[in-house]
Amino acid sequence: MATSNPSVFLLSVNGQIEGANFPEYDNLYCKYSFVYGHDWAPTSGLEEGITQITCKGSESSHKLIWNFPLETTFKSTNPSGWPQLVVSVYGPDVFGNDVVRGYGATHIPFTPGQHTRTIPMFVPEPTWRLQKFTSWLLGRRPEYTDPKVVAQGEGREVTRVCSQGFVTVSFHIITKDMKKLGYDTGPASLVNTQSATSGWSTEEQPYTME
C-alpha cells in the first residue's frame, strides 16, 4: 500500500537497554522515555517505560543487567528534533530512600543497522555543601524537574552535575523512505553499492502495490 511518493519517513527503533555500570550502587532500575521534536510522532510501541529492579551479578564485572526491550516506531517529516532516548536510573540509598542515580540521553542512531551506545550518566549536584549533607541525610537529592531536561541544551548552564556511571543501550535501526525524501544517512560506501545493485540495503524498499 506504500505510495511511491511518501510524505513521511519512518524510523523503527528496536533494541534494548542492556545494562549499566554503576560501581557504587546496587538495586537500580531505569526509566526511559523518548524525546522528539515537533515534527515527530510515535506510531507504535511504547514511548516510556520502566525496567525491573536489578542487582549486581556476582561475576567480576559487577554489571547491572536489565535487558529491557525497546520497540518504537516513529514517523516524521523533518529530521530536526530527531528522537533522543532519555534514561534515568534510580535506586535506594543507604537509608532505603529511592533516589536518582543518574540521568543521560543519547540520540537514536541515524544510520540503519546495529549500534551500541554507552551513555554516561550524571546527576545534578546540590548547590552547596551543607545542602549536600542534608540531602544525603534526608534522602532527597536534587533532581531535574523533568528527566527530559537532559535532552535539551537550553538552560543547562545553570546546573552543575556530577558523573555517576554508564548505561549501555543497543539499537537496531530500520528506516524507510528517508532516501526518497532526500535524507541520506547511510555510510558513503553503502550509497555507491546501493545505486549499483538496485537497492539491497538495510534501508527498506517499499513495495509498490497498485
Binding site: H38, A41, T77, T127, T145, G155
Partner: protein
C-alpha cells in the same frame, strides 16, 4: 420506612401481633439497610430523594396517623426503637434477606408464586418471609426499578460487599437455636446494656461505611442523572432483567473522562500481588511428575531395556533437578515431545568415559624430550598499541632520533645595554648585507639587463630598420618590456644596497657616539670600511653609458607611447572634424532656407523643428580633442641622472666594503659606572638551558650554561632519543635560570624530520624565537617590552621584545649499516594519507594556514605538485612570488571564508519556500505556529491556508473589527492593548529563555535552625489524624505538563445566609397547582435545598444537595484544566482568561404526576434548579495565588423571584448605622491547582533585573529601593510599593498618581442634596469600568499602571487603576482619601481606597463599589501593607496587618513609617495625572443599539444551547421585564423585589416564573454569554417552558456602560 408502610398496608395482620416482631425487623432492617438494600434509596440520585419524600408526603396525606419524622432524623428515631433482639439475629436475617433477594432476582420467578410456596412454613417464618416478599413487592417495581440507572450495579456490588462484611459473624448453631427459641415478647429495654452498646457501635460503623460509599456514589449518580434524567424518571423495568443490561449501559455511558483518570498509587495487597505475580512467574515444583502426564494419552510406558535393547547409561542428575526440569518442560506447549517412550526425558548416554584415554605421563621432568621442554620467555611489554609505531615487524628494531642543540644567540635580551641593542642591530644589518652580497641580486640583474639589451640591439642590427614582420615586432616589444621590468627591478635592488650601506655606516657612527658618551665599551663590534679604488675614467664611461642606454630606452618608450596617443588623437580629431563639417553644412542649409524665405507657416515650423533637432547633436558632439603633449626629453634626462646619483655609486667613487669584526676590547668592569657593573653582574648570574620535549613529554634537557656577555650560549649537545611512539612534535623550550628559580623564555617547535634525514644530510638550522614577557631593570639593562629611545629628546621610541635564534638540528640516527633508524610509519603515513593530504592543501595545513606562504610552499614541495597542471596554476604563481623573496599578502581579509560552502540553500530559496518559512516562523515562536506539529516534508504539501491566519493578523493591524466587540471604541482599545502587549512580550522574550536553577533542578531547601527546632517540636505534638491540615505541596514548573495533568481542586465547605424560598402562602395570585402544593408543604419544612455547581471551561460539576440556608457541603470537586494549544508554559498560563464560576442553585422538585398501574405506583418528578447566586474567580488569580482560601460574598441578583433574603430587607445604603455587613450570602471555599504550579514569579524577578529606565531623580530611586528592601526584610508578607511602571515602561514614583480629579459632572449633579448618594454613584461609576488583570493582558507578571486618563480611554485596568481613579475622585469631592496597598481575597496583592469621614474609616473595594467599615468581619481586605496619598507613602510597621487591628493614624511614627521624612523631604514631585479629566458625553443611541445586539446574540445563544428543545420566547413577559431594568439601574441594584414580583405575578397569572436580573460592566460580549450560560437557565427541560430575556444597557459618561440582563423562565401550569 417503606417497610413500615408496607406492613401497615397489609390488612391481613393485626397490628398487635406484629408490632414487636416488626420492630425488631425494622431495626434489623435498618442495620441491614445500612449495609444492604435500603441504602439503595440513600445512595441514588437526588431525584429519588425527592420522589421518596413526596411519596411519603402523599402517604401522610393518606394515613395521617403516623407522625412523620423529618427525613434527616429518621434514622435516629428508628434507632431509638431498637428492641432487644440480639445481634446475631440481625445478621442472620440480613443473610436471609440477602439469600431471598438473590434467589428472587436470579430465578426471576413470579413473586406471588414464591409467596405461595412459602406459605406453609411456620408462622414466624411465614411472617418473615412474607415480610420479605412484601418488601420486594414494594421494592422491585417501585424502587429497584428506579435504580436501574447504570450506577446501580456498582453500588449494589459495593453494598453486597458491605453486607458480606457484616455477615462475617456467622451464627453458630447455638445462636441459631437461640434465635428460633427466643422469647419475642421480651421488651427491648430488657436487653443487656452491654449488648445494646455493642450493637449501637456496630450500627454506627456500618452506617458510616455505607454513608461514605453512598456519598461517593451519590455524586456519580448525580452526574449520570444529569446526562439522562429522562431515562431515570421513566425507568420501571424489573430488576433482574436490567441487571444484565446494566453492564452494557455502563459501558456506553463511559465518556472520555472515564478513560482519562489519574489515580493515586494503588496499594496492592500481598495476596493479590502473589496472585498477579503468579501470572508472570513460574516456580517449578519439586514433585515427581506422574508418567501419565508425560506420555500421550492412553499410552503405557514402554521400556526398551526390558525389550532387550541396549540403552546407554543416562548421565547422572539428581532427582529434584530432574523433577524441576520435567515440570518446566511440561509447562511449555508441546513439552511432551521431550519425553521418551519410557516417560523420562530423552537423554543421550553419558558421554563421559570411565577411564581416561590419554596416555599418562609418568616421566620425571629430566626425562622429558627436549622438544617438549617449556621455554620461558620474559614478558614483553606490548608497544604496538594505537599510539605506537605500527607495522614494525621487527620487535627489536628501535628508532633513534637525534636532537642536536648547538646553541642560541639573543637578538634581544632584557639585559642588553643600549650599546648591545645597537650592536645587535648592526650585526643584523651586517648579516643582511652579507646575504645580499652573497645573493648578488644586483649583479645578476645587471647582467640580465645587459643581455637583454644586447639581444634587442642584435635584432635591430640584423634587420637594420627594415620593415619588420608582425612576429618580430611583437618580440621586440616583448623584449623592451622585459628590459623595462628588469631595469626597474635592478634599480630598486641597487637602491636597497645603497640604503643598507648607508644604514650600516650610520649605525656604526651612532655606536661610536654612544661609546664615547658612556665612556666604556660593551660590545666587541668593530666596523671597518674597506675602500676599493676603481679606474675613474672607466667607471665614468660605464656610468654615462648606463645613463645613455637608459635614456634611450626611456625615450623610445615615451616616443612609442606618444605615437600611440597621437594616433588616437588623430582618429578622434577626424571624428570631430566630421562632426563639425556636418554641422556646418547644416547651418549653411538653414541659412539658405532662411534666405529663401519660407512661404508656408507649417513648413517653417517644421523646419524650425528640424533645426532644433539638428542643433542638439551638434552641441553634444565630441569636443575638439587635445593633441598629446610632446615629450620633454630634457626633463627625462634630468630625472634619470637624479635617480642614478641617488641609487648608484658616483662615478669614480671607491667601492666601500664594510667588514664587521668582533675583535674590539671591552672595558673592564672596574672602569664602568655602577649601573653598568650591576648589569654585568646580572648577566653573569643568569644561565640558560633547553628542555627537549618529545610528544609533549620532557625527555631530556641540556646542561645549564651561563649567559655570556655577548649573549650567546653554546650548548653543543646531541641527544639521542630512542623512540617508541610515533613522533608528533618535537619542542625545545628555552629556560632562563636566575639563582634557583627558572622560567620559560620561549618555545621552539622543530619539525619532525623526514625519514631519510640523517646526520650528514642536515645542517644546523636557526629557529627564531621570541617572548613577550615584560622585564624592567633599574640598571643599564634596557629590559624587554619597554619603550626605548636613542634620541636625546626621547622621541622615536622603540619597543624591543626578547628574541633570539636557536640553532639546532634534528635527524634520525643511523644504524650500523648507515640506514636511518626512522620508523617506517612516517613513510607509511606519507603513503596512506597522501591521497588526501597531498591534494588538498586545506587539510594539510589547516584553513588558517592558507595565508602562510611558507607552509604552502612546504606543502607544494612535499606533494610535488605538477607545475604544468592548469589546476595548480594559481598556486604555482603564488609560490613563485613566495619563493622570490617578496611575500605579498592578499590585499583583502575575509572572516569565515568557507561560509558559502556550508550554506544550506541560498537566501532567496529560503525566502521563497513555504516550508522553510513555516519552520522559521515556528522557530521564532510566532503565536500561530508555536506548537505546530509535523511540518510537511515536501514543499507542495504546505498549503497556503496555514499562513492565512497569520497574514490576516499582520494585515489586520489597523483594521478595526467591530463585529466581535460590538462597540467601535472598545475595538480600538482592544487593538491598542494588543499593541502594548506585543511590545511587552517582546521585552520579555529575552527573559523567558533565561533559566534559573529552580527551573531545572528540584532541590530541598536547607532547613534553618528555626525550622529544625520547630520540626522537633512538632514531633512531640500529639498526632491528630482526624484533623488533617493542609500542607504545602511540591511545586511543579509548568514547562513539562500536558493535557490532563492539571486539575483544579475546589473544596466547597459551607455557605451562609442563602436566600430562602418564600412561603407560598404569601403568594397573592392563588394559582393552586398541585405540584406547588406539594412543594408548599416542603417549603414549610425545608426552606431551601441548595447545591453548588462549579463550571470551568464548560466543564460542570456539582455537589450534593444540602438543606437550609446555612448548608455545609464540605466536598471536593476536581475540574480538569487544559491550556490553550496545549502550551503549559508559565506565560501562557498567566494569560488564561477563563473564569471559575461557582453557582449556588436551589433544587426544586415538582411532581408531575402519579401513575398507578397494577398497584405499582410511580411518581414522576421534575427537578428544577433555580439559580441563587454566583461567585466567579478568574483562573489567573488562582494561578498567581496558588491557593484561594476564604469566605466570599456571593453575588446574588438584585431580584430573585420566589426567594427572600432571610435577614433584613431594608438595605438602604445608609452608612451611618454600623451595618452588619453579613447581609447577603457567603460561601466558604478553598481552591487550588493540583499539582501546584509555580506562578511566573521568576519572570518578575527577571524583570527587576532588566531595570526599566526612569526620569526620576537617582537619589529618589535609591531611597525607594532601600525603603522597599527594608520593608521586605522586616515584614515579608506586607506588600510595599513606592515605584511603579507606567505604560511606557518607565519607573515612576507612586505618589505622582494621586491627584484630585473631577468625576463626570452628570454624576455630581445627579443628587446634589445627598453627598452619600453621590459618593456611592461615583464608586459605582468606577466599578463599572471593566477589570482586566495586568497579567492577563500582559502575559508576564508585570504590573503596569496607567494614568486615569489612559485608564478611561482604555476602559480596562486592574484593581490599582480602579483604586487610583476612585481615590482621585474622592479627593476631588473633598474627602480624605488614601490608597491602600495590601492583599485581599481573592485578588491577592491589590489596592483599595481608604476614606475618612464622620470620624470613621471606610474601606472601599474599587472594583465592586462596596465599602466596609474598619471593623467589618467580612471585609475582603486582609493585609494592609502601605498607604499612599499625593504627599507621602507610609509603610505599616504595626504588629498586625488586618484592617480591624490597624490604627490609621499616619502621624504616629511608631505605627507608620513614612517615606518622606524630615531627613528626606518631599522634593515636590509633580503629578503624572492630567489637570482635569475630559469626558465624552453619553451616547444613548449607541447604547440602545448595543442593547439590541446583545439581546439578539443572547437569544441566539440560548437557542443554540437547547438544540433538542424548541425555545419559545414570551414576548409579554419580556416587555414587562424590560420595564423593570431601568428602575433597577436607578436604584443601583438595591432590593426592590417585592413590588416587582407582585407586579409580575399579577401580569403573568398562572405561570410558574423564576428568574433574576444579572448585572455587569460591559467590556465585551463573551463574559456576558458566559455569565448567562453559567446560570443554567437554559437547562429547563419542561416541554411547556417559555423564556423571557431583557437586556438593558445604561450609558454613563465616557462610554462606560452598565449592562443588565433579565432572564426568566416561565412554566405554564
Amino acid at each position: 420506612m417503606k417497610e413500615r408502610q408496607s406492613s401497615e398496608e397489609d390488612p391481613g395482620e393485626t397490628l398487635k401481633r406484629t408490632l414487636r416482631a416488626q420492630r425488631q425487623r425494622q431495626k434489623k432492617r435498618l442495620l441491614g439497610h445500612s449495609s444492604a438494600q435500603e441504602s439503595h434509596v440513600e445512595e441514588i440520585s437526588t431525584i429519588q430523594h425527592h420522589s421518596e419524600d413526596e411519596g411519603s408526603a402523599e402517604k401522610a396525606g393518606d394515613s395521617g396517623a403516623l407522625s412523620r419524622p423529618p427525613t434527616g432524623s429518621q434514622r435516629s428515631l428508628s434507632g431509638r426503637q431498637h428492641s432487644a433482639s440480639s445481634q446475631h439475629l440481625d445478621s442472620f436475617v440480613t443473610r436471609r434477606l440477602e439469600e431471598t433477594l438473590r434467589a428472587a432476582r436470579s430465578k426471576g420467578e413470579s413473586l406471588q408464586q414464591q409467596e405461595a410456596s412459602l406459605e406453609p412454613a411456620s408462622r414466624l417464618q411465614s411472617l418473615r418471609d412474607r415480610d420479605a416478599v412484601t418488601r420486594f413487592d414494594k421494592i422491585d417495581p417501585d424502587r429497584a426499578g428506579r435504580h436501574d440507572d447504570p450506577l446501580a450495579l456498582k453500588t449494589r456490588v459495593t453494598f453486597r460487599e458491605a453486607a458480606r462484611r457484616t455477615e462475617k459473624g456467622l451464627p453458630t448453631a447455638e445462636e441459631a437455636y437461640n434465635f428460633f427459641t427466643l422469647n419475642f415478647e421480651l421488651e427491648p429495654q430488657d436487653g443487656t446494656e452491654k449488648e445494646r452498646k455493642k450493637r449501637k457501635k456496630q450500627k454506627k460503623t456500618t452506617e458510616k461505611d455505607s454513608d461514605e460509599e453512598g456519598g461517593v456514589e451519590e455524586q456519580e449518580a448525580a452526574e449520570v442523572d444529569e446526562d439522562n434524567p429522562d431515562e431515570n424518571v421513566d425507568q420501571s423495568e424489573a430488576a433482574p432483567l436490567v441487571r444484565d443490561e446494566e453492564e452494557d449501559l455502563f459501558v456506553i455511558e463511559q465518556s472520555s473522562r472515564d478513560f482519562l483518570e489519574v489515580k493515586k498509587a494503588e496499594y496492592v495487597g500481598y495476596r493479590k500481588r502473589i496472585q498477579q505475580e503468579s501470572e508472570l512467574l513460574f516456580t517449578p515444583s519439586f514433585r515427581t511428575v506422574p508418567t501419565t502426564i508425560k506420555l500421550p494419552e492412553h499410552m503405557k510406558p514402554r521400556y526398551l531395556e526390558d525389550e532387550g535393547l541396549y540403552v546407554g547409561e543416562r548421565p547422572k542428575i539428581s532427582l529434584t533437578n530432574e523433577n524441576i526440569l520435567e515440570n518446566r518442560i511440561l509447562k511449555i506447549e508441546e513439552g511432551k515431545k521431550w519425553f521418551g517412550d519410557d516417560g523420562r526425558i530423552m537423554a543421550l548416554p553419558d558421554p563421559i568415559k570411565e577411564s581416561s584415554t590419554r596416555p599418562p605421563l609418568f616421566h620425571m621432568e629430566e626425562d622429558l624430550d627436549p622438544a617438549l621442554h617449556t621455554v620461558y620467555r620474559k614478558a614483553v611489554k606490548s608497544k604496538y598499541a594505537n599510539l605506537y609505531i605500527a607495522g614494525a615487524t621487527d620487535p627489536e628494531g628501535d628508532y633513534q632520533l637525534d636532537v642536536d642543540v648547538s646553541g642560541l644567540i639573543f637578538s634581544h635580551h632584557p639585559l642588553f645595554s643600549r650599546e648591545h641593542v645597537l650592536g645587535a642591530r648592526l650585526a643584523q644589518l651586517y648579516d643582511q648585507y652579507l646575504t645580499r652580497q652573497h645573493n648578488n641580486l644586483t649583479g645578476h640583474l645587471t647582467d640580465k639587463l645587459k643581455g637583454l639589451r644586447r639581444a634587442l640591439r642584435n635584432i635591430h642590427e640584423i634587420h637594420g630598420g627594415e620593415s619588420l614582420n608582425q612576429a618580430m615586432q611583437r618580440r621586440i616589444s616583448e623584449y623592451s618590456l622585459e628590459v623595462r621590468n628588469t631595469r626597474q627591478l635592478r634599480d630598486s635592488e641597487q637602491e636597497k644596497d645603497r640604503t643598507l650601506l648607508k644604514h650600516i655606516v650610520k649605525l656604526w657612527k651612532e655606536l661610536k657616539a654612544l661609546r664615547d658618551f658612556q665612556k666604556f665599551t660593551n660590545t666587541p663590534y668593530k666596523l671597518s670600511l674597506r675602500r676599493e679604488n676603481v679606474d675613474r675614467t672607466l667607471d665614468e664611461q660605464e656610468y654615462e653609458d648606463e645613463i645613455l642606454a637608459e635614456l634611450m630606452e626611456l625615450e623610445a618608450e615615451i616616443e612609442a607611447d606618444y605615437q600611440k596617443k597621437f594616433a588616437e588623437y588623430k582618429k578622434q580629431l577626424q571624428d570631430w572634424k566630421l562632426c563639425v563639417r556636418k554641422q556646418k553644412t547644416k547651418k549653411k542649409k538653414r541659412k539658405k532656407k532662411k534666405k529663401g524665405k519660407a512661404q508656408d507657416e507649417t513648413e517653417e515650423e517644421d523646419e524650425y523643428q528640424d533645426v532644433s533637432e539638428s542643433e542638439g547633436p551638434v552641441e553634444e558632439g565630441p569636443p575638439k580633442p587635445e593633441p598629446p603633449e610632446k615629450p620633454d626629453f630634457e626633463s627625462i634626462e634630468q630625472q634619470v641622472r637624479e635617480k642614478a646619483s641617488r641609487i648608484r655609486r658616483k662615478p669614480g667613487e671607491s667601492i666601500l666594503i664594510p667588514e664587521l669584526s668582533a675583535s674590539g676590547n671591552l672595558t673592564a668592569s672596574e672602569l664602568c659606572p655602577r649601573s653598568e657593573t650591576a648589569r654585568r653582574e646580572d648577566v653573569t648570574r643568569r644561565s640558560l638551558f633547553v628542555k627537549i620535549l618529545y610528544n609533549d613529554k620532557e625527555v631530556s634537557r641540556t646542561d645549564s650554561r651561563s649567559l655570556n656577555t655577548d649573549f650567546r650560549v653554546h650548548f653543543g649537545q646531541i641527544f639521542n632519543l630512542r623512540i617508541v611512539n610515533c613522533p608528533q612534535s618535537i619542542n625545545l623550550q628555552v629556560f632562563e635560570e636566575i639563582g634557583s628559580s627558572c622560567y620559560l623564555l620561549a618555545q621552539v617547535f622543530v619539525p619532525v624530520p623526514e625519514p631519510s634525514v640523517v646526520a650528514d644530510r642536515v645542517s644546523l638550522e636557526e629557529f627564531e624565537f621570541s617572548s613577550n614577557q615584560r622585564v624592567m631593570f633599574d640598571h643599564e639593562g634596557v629590559g624587554s617590552d619597554v619603550p626605548l629611545s636613542f634620541e636625546a629628546d626621547g622621541s622615536n621610541k622603540q619597543t624591543l621584545l626578547t628574541s633570539g635564534k636557536l640553532s639546532c638540528r634534528v635527524y634520525w640516527g643511523s644504524g650500523e649499516d648507515g640506514v636511518a633508524l626512522a620508523p617506517p610509519v612516517s613513510q607509511q603515513r606519507g603513503g596512506l594519507h597522501s591521497g588526501l593530504s597531498r591534494l588538498d592543501a586545506v587539510t594539510f595545513i589547516g584553513a588558517s594556514g592558507l595565508y602562510d606562504m611558507k607552509k604552502i610552499g612546504e606543502w607544494a614541495t612535499r606533494s610535488r605538485l605538477d607545475p604544468n597542471d592548469p589546476k595548480n596554476a594559481s598556486i604555482m604563481q603564488l609560490l613563485k612570488v613566495a619563493t622570490s623573496g617578496e611575500v605579498t599578502a592578499p590585499e583583502y581579509f575575509r572572516l569565515e571564508q568557507l561560509q558559502e560552502e556550508f550554506n544550506f540553500v541560498t537566501d532567496e530559496e529560503l525566502e521563497r519556500s513555504k516550508r522553510f518559512r513555516l519552520l522559521t516562523l515556528r522557530n521564532q515562536e510566532v503565536a500561530e505556529f508555536r506548537n505546530y506539529k509535523c511540518v510537511p516534508s515536501l514543499e507542495r504539501e504546505v498549503t497556503d491556508k496555514v499562513f492565512q491566519e497569520y497574514e490576516k493578523r499582520l494585515k489586520e493591524g489597523e483594521v478595526v473589527d467591530t463585529k466581535e466587540h460590538l462597540d467601535s471604541h472598545r475595538a480600538l482599545v482592544a487593538k491598542y492593548l494588543q499593541k502594548i502587549r506585543e511590545s511587552v512580550i517582546n521585552r520579555f522574550l529575552l527573559a523567558k529563555h533565561h533559566y534559573i536553577l529552580s527551573d531545572l533542578v528540584v532541590e530541598e531547601e536547607i532547613p534553618s535552625i528555626g525550622i529544625l527546632g520547630l520540626n522537633l517540636f512538632k514531633l512531640a505534638e500529639p498526632k491528630r489524624p482526624l484533623k488533617p491540615q493542609r500542607k504545602a505541596r511540591k511545586k511543579v514548573t509548568a514547562q513539562n505538563l500536558s493535557d490532563g495533568d492539571i486539575k483544579l481542586l475546589i473544596n466547597i465547605i459551607r455557605a451562609y445566609d442563602i436566600p430562602i424560598r418564600r412561603p407560598q402562602s404569601n403568594k397573592p395570585g392563588q394559582s393552586s397547582q398541585c405540584a406547588i402544593q406539594g412543594s408548599d408543604w416542603l417549603l414549610s419544612q425545608v426552606q431551601v435545598r441548595p447545591f453548588v455547581e462549579v463550571s470551568f471551561q464548560r466543564m460542570v460539576l456539582q455537589t450534593t444537595t444540602a438543606d437550609g440556608p446555612n448548608p455545609c457541603w464540605n466536598e471536593e470537586l476536581q475540574l480538569p484544566f487544559s491550556a490553550p494549544n496545549g502550551d503549559y508554559s508559565a506565560a501562557v498560563l498567566q494569560s488564561v482568561k477563563d473564569e471559575v464560576f461557582i453557582n449556588i442553585f436551589d433544587e426544586v422538585v415538582y411532581e408531575t404526576g402519579v401513575k398507578d398501574q397494577d398497584r405499582a405506583k410511580s411518581i414522576h418528578t421534575r427537578v428544577e434548579k433555580h439559580w441563587l447566586g454566583s461567585v466567579k474567580i478568574p483562573f489567573s488569580t488562582i494561578y498567581s495565588q496558588s491557593r484561594i482560601d476564604g469566605t466570599f460574598k456571593v453575588h446574588t441578583p438584585a431580584v430573585l423571584l420566589g426567594y427572600s433574603k432571610e435577614r433584613s430587607y431594608g438595605t438602604n445604603g445608609a452608612y451611618d448605622t454600623m451595618r452588619n455587613l453579613s447581609e447577603g450570602a457567603f460561601i466558604t471555599l478553598f481552591i487550588t491547582i493540583e499539582p501546584q504550579l509555580v506562578p511566573g514569579e521568576s519572570v518578575r524577578e527577571k524583570i527587576k533585573e532588566l531595570k526599566f529606565d526612569s526620569q526620576e531623580d537617582e537619589r529618589l530611586l535609591q531611597a525607594s529601593e532601600r525603603f522597599e528592601r527594608e520593608a521586605a526584610e522586616g515584614y515579608p508578607d506586607r506588600p510595599c510599593i513606592t515605584t511603579i511602571i507606567d505604560l511606557n515602561g518607565k519607573t515612576i514614583f507612586v505618589t505622582r498618581y494621586i491627584r484630585p480629579l473631577n468625576p463626570p459632572k452628570e454624576l455630581l449633579d445627579a443628587s446634589l442634596d445627598d453627598p452619600q448618594e453621590t459618593t456611592a454613584l461615583v464608586a459605582r461609576f468606577v466599578s463599572l469600568i471593566p477589570s482586566l488583570p495586568d497579567r492577563v493582558s500582559f502575559s508576564g507578571n508585570c504590573d503596569l499602571w496607567s494614568t486615569c486618563d489612559q485608564f478611561l480611554t482604555l476602559l480596562a485596568g486592574d484593581e490599582e487603576e480602579h483604586a487610583v481613579l476612585l481615590c482621585n475622585y474622592f479627593l476631588f469631592m473633598g474627602k480624605k482619601a488614601w490608597l491602600i496597598i495590601g492583599t485581599a481575597i481573592p485578588e491577592g496583592p491589590t489596592a483599595y481606597v481608604l476614606t475618612f469621614e464622620q470620624s470613621r474609616y471606610l474601606i472601599w473595594n474599587p472594583s465592586s463599589a462596596q465599602y466596609y467599615g474598619q471593623y467589618d468581619t467580612f471585609c475582603p481586605l486582609q493585609t494592609i501593607g502601605c498607604l499612599v496619598n499625593a504627599d507621602n507613602v507610609w509603610f505599616n510597621i504595626q504588629e498586625y496587618t488586618s484592617p480591624m487591628t490597624v490604627s490609621f493614624d499616619t502621624t504616629k511614627a511608631n505605627l507608620w513609617k513614612p517615606f518622606f521624612s524630615r531627613s528626606f523631604s518631599h522634593p515636590g514631585l509633580s503629578s503624572v495625572q492630567p489637570e482635569q479629566l475630559v469626558y465624552r458625553g453619553t451616547d444613548k443611541a449607541a447604547a440602545a443599539e448595543l442593547q439590541d445586539r446583545i439581546e439578539k446574540i443572547l437569544k441566539e445563544k440560548i437557542m443554540e444551547w437547547r438544540p433538542r428543545h424548541p425555545t419559545r420566547w414570551n414576548r409579554y413577559c419580556t416587555t414587562t421585564l424590560k420595564q423593570f431594568l431601568p428602575k433597577l439601574e436607578v436604584s443601583g441594584g438595591q432590593d426592590m423585589a417585592e413590588g416587582h414580583r407582585h407586579e409580575l405575578q399579577s401580569l403573568l397569572g398562572d405561570n410558574n416564573i423564576s428568574g433574576f436580573p444579572l448585572h455587569m460592566p460591559f467590556s465585551e460580549i463573551r463574559p456576558i454569554i458566559e455569565a448567562v450560560y453559567s446560570t443554567g437557565v437554559h437547562n429547563v427541560q419542561a416541554s411547556n417552558v417559555e423564556f423571557a430575556l431583557a437586556v438593558y444597557v445604561h450609558p454613563y459618561p465616557n462610554n462606560v456602560l452598565s449592562v443588565w440582563v433579565y432572564l426568566a423562565s416561565l412554566v405554564r401550569t
